[in-house]
Symmetry: C2
Subunit: 180 residues, 2 copies
């Protein structure tokens, strides 16, 4: 039992990617109020692509929201697709690669104080460069293959500052025996 | 140069915690459109508290947004305070602990496809249990001291599913020499 009660819910804002829902709630302490929840339309998919040389593929793109470049693992919205299919599509679009082996690493939630934003995380191995990416369309300026130790260094120095990318790297590191 | 142009901006939604901003933009490819950005009011602070026995303090709380319990490192909004002061306050409120040594681990950004949600991450060591927490008010049902290996296991099994907590653990692991 969570102790929360929801009495009414309404859409306060929406666009093609997010919806803000306002719920009239009674909190566990008995007080009443409004809880605003930002929902993403569909779960996101995140892919940690690892080459046969144990490098991680990262993409560099400008993030309008935060006004700066970001180095990230490939990711995107699932657009209502099966999550593995969506992950395969995003990997192809953002890096021009396909993968032979897909491993589901788990589901994580971002900004859970204000948002319902689930992300399914996959490890992709056995990569083949088949082209056919749409990097420009995706806003990607560069695809880098980075050795694991350098990836960790970039997390530590802040060169990688995307929170979801860092949590995906943790999940991948555990799966690959690089962490723990 | 990012290649993006912003022509106008307006507030489309706001509550006490978030604001959704809609910008009229020209994208790098020359097309025009509206970019909706969810902004948190103030940067968040995240604290990885590590005991003298190398355990990590985690809090368990129900997250209304995602409808489930979550195991997380202490965190909260900075409410316009100095970020270190805010981190010290959150640690005290959520665990009843103070810390002798504070190390800034960096700044990460969550959900940067749709949000401007920065978080400042701190490592807190030399902990003292001084009480004075307001766990019930914060919705926290339990404070746990978890050995590092068990923390990693809980990330791997999905028992820890908060994305920011996982990225904070990565940053702490690197700083403590547990990772890398």
């Amino acid at each position: 039992m969570s102790g929360w009660q929801t009495h009414a819910t309404r859409t306060a804002y929406e666009n093609a990617w997010i919806r803000v829902r306002e719920d009239d709630v009674t909190r566990p302490d008995g007080s009443t109020g409004v809880y605003g929840v930002t929902e993403v339309r569909h779960p996101a998919v995140f892919i940690v692509p690892v080459t046969d040389n144990s490098e991680v593929l990262l993409v560099r793109l400008f993030r309008y929201t935060i006004g700066r470049d970001s180095l990230e693992v490939p990711a995107g919205g699932s657009d209502g697709q099966d999550l593995l299919v969506a992950a395969q599509r995003e990997l192809r679009e953002e890096t021009g690669r396909t993968a032979q082996t897909w491993t589901r690493l788990g589901r994580v939630f971002s900004l859970n104080g204000v948002a319902d934003a689930p992300a399914e995380v996959f490890l992709a191995r056995g990569l083949a460069d088949v082209g056919g990416g749409s990097l420009e369309e995706e806003g990607i300026s560069e695809v880098l293959a980075v050795a694991w130790d350098d990836v960790l260094r970039m997390v530590r120095t802040g060169e990688i500052h995307d929170s979801e990318t860092i949590s995906c790297l943790m999940l991948a590191g555990l799966e690959l025996g690089r962490i723990g």
